[in-house]
Amino acid sequence: MAGTTDRPLLTVEDLKVSFPTRKGLVEAVRGISFSLGREKLGIVGESGSGKSMTGRSILRLVSAPGEVTARRLEFDGIDLQKANEAQMRQIRGQRISMVMQDPKFSLNPVMRVGEQIAEAYRTHQKVSREEAKRRTLDMLRAVRIRDPERVVRAYPHEVSGGMGQRIMIAMMLIPDPDLLIADEPTSALDVTVQLQVLAILDDLVTQRGMGLIFISHDLNLVASFCDRVVIMYAGRIMEICDAKNLAAAQHPYTRGLLNCLPKIDGDGSDLQVLRRDPAWLEHGL
């Protein structure tokens, strides 16, 4: 269910992202619209659907020559398109945070974990080193790391994938943002660790009343974890529905995705192959 605030946390209207390449203009996102309250919204799509670009464009992380346009891109009353770079820096990390797929690539390999988290904190809050260290340890406990004093002194390559991702979450949530964008945060993890990390995210998001955008290719995971699901294909939104009603989804692409998955209790007959309708390239929601 959407949160209790009357104004949505994030409003996106007609977002378009395109890249000029030598072979012509590549339109990664072709005019999508959705809004987000204090809830968990999943964005699902295959590779090339534009889901990652959507997440990045909210935080203005799409670098030139990529071009982002939107009729409306508003976060908590702030027009994200009109904000200048200094204002965006205030928003990034402090009010909107982003967790990405592989902690190997998003954690600084030559800095100890504790230093990185403390640095993230002190970028946005004027606090002393001791206070930052205390908050860091608290945050690591909040992401269920049992021996935070040891982890704080470790380097990123010394921790496992699941722990690295929890460290990322700690780092991104320590400034207490209102919105978290998670781009395939658990795809590089084993399935049991995946669910453990998601449970942590679940608890934190609920406790703090945050909004969460969960970008993934795994439809079943998103449907079981999120409140609402956005299905993207070729840069457009095919369908938006409540997670619990996913089985009753209308759009043939969504149905196709659901039906082509093998199931543990399936009968082993040939999997239904998704038939791509060229009309989907023309129209979206």
Binding site: L195, H217, L221, S224, K263, I264, G268, V273
Partner: protein, 269 residues
């Protein structure tokens, strides 16, 4: 010959693989034993670090440092493999973007095994195998970067089949593919198995794929097999070992209450 003692295509007994020396010694594979009858699909399931891929690499001969007994089509294998072995056993790798040489055309990639083994009539064989994996002759002179992930994986399968092996080792063949493409590739693998009477060993971390494709499976954790079961047990949600049960529950999707009951399964002695 009774059904119980039907000839096994692949027999592995007490396979051990150790990496590293001294303090860094890791028992990647510990006393793994299983049999795969001819024409069956055998699944090796586990999370990362379970040793499932290491077993496959030892089976294929890519990793020569193992001990135990490996018997393929009735022949005991040593650490060196001969050309006859490579005509019997082939492998499909996980990463479609890494398993094709970036500077070779599809034609060259498929020609190479034929040249090494001196097969006659290479052009006809190449065209035929391309058709069998659902790609036409227009793909023959493309470079890998001109192919999508699914197409590359089909070429990898074509390359594995062109020597007409009897056994295919499949190392997470679809985990890097989109789900819609995965369905096509899995269907293709099933079709090829039926058409050519192949025996498969499928390694995966995904229980639903294993349930779909396999007749029997072995679940590995920390290098050892914790449970070997018939797929029907899995389909009825009745695995016996708690680790397998946990894996199965995790595969069904996010369930907050279930997550709280997850345990850490360490190395069993």
């Amino acid at each position: 010959m009774s059904a119980v003692t039907a000839k096994a295509m692949i027999e592995v007994e007490d396979l051990n693989v150790v990496f590293g020396i001294g303090a860094d010694r890791v028992n990647a594979v510990r006393e793994v034993t299983f049999r795969v009858p001819e024409g069956a699909t055998f699944g090796l399931v586990g999370e990362s670090g379970s040793g499932k891929s290491t077993v496959l690499r030892a089976l294929s001969g890519l990793n020569p440092e193992w001990d135990g007994r490996i018997t393929i089509a009735g022949h005991d294998q040593t650490t060196r493999r001969g050309k006859a072995f490579y005509k019997t056993v082939q492998m499909v790798f996980q990463d479609p973007y890494g398993s094709l040489h970036p500077r070779h055309t599809v034609d060259r990639i498929l020609m190479e095994p034929l040249a090494i083994h001196g097969f006659s009539d290479p052009d006809r064989r190449i065209e035929r195998v391309l058709g069998e994996v659902g790609l036409g002759p227009s793909f023959r002179f493309r470079y890998p970067h001109q192919l999508s992930g699914g197409q590359r994986q089909r070429i990898a399968i074509a390359r594995a089949l062109i020597l007409e092996p009897r056994i295919l080792l499949l190392d997470e063949p679809t985990s890097a593919l989109d789900v819609s493409v995965q369905a096509e590739v899995l269907n293709l693998l099933q079709l090829l198995k039926k058409e050519r009477g192949l025996t498969y060993i499928l390694v995966s971390h995904d229980l639903s794929i294993v349930a779909h494709m396999c007749d029997e499976l072995a679940v590995m954790n920390h290098g050892a097999v914790v449970e070997e079961l018939d797929v029907s047990l899995l389909k009825r949600h009745e695995p016996k070992h708690p680790y397998t049960r946990q894996l199965m529950i995790a595969s069904l999707g996010y369930d907050r209450a279930a997550v709280d009951r997850f345990e850490d399964f360490g190395i069993e002695s």
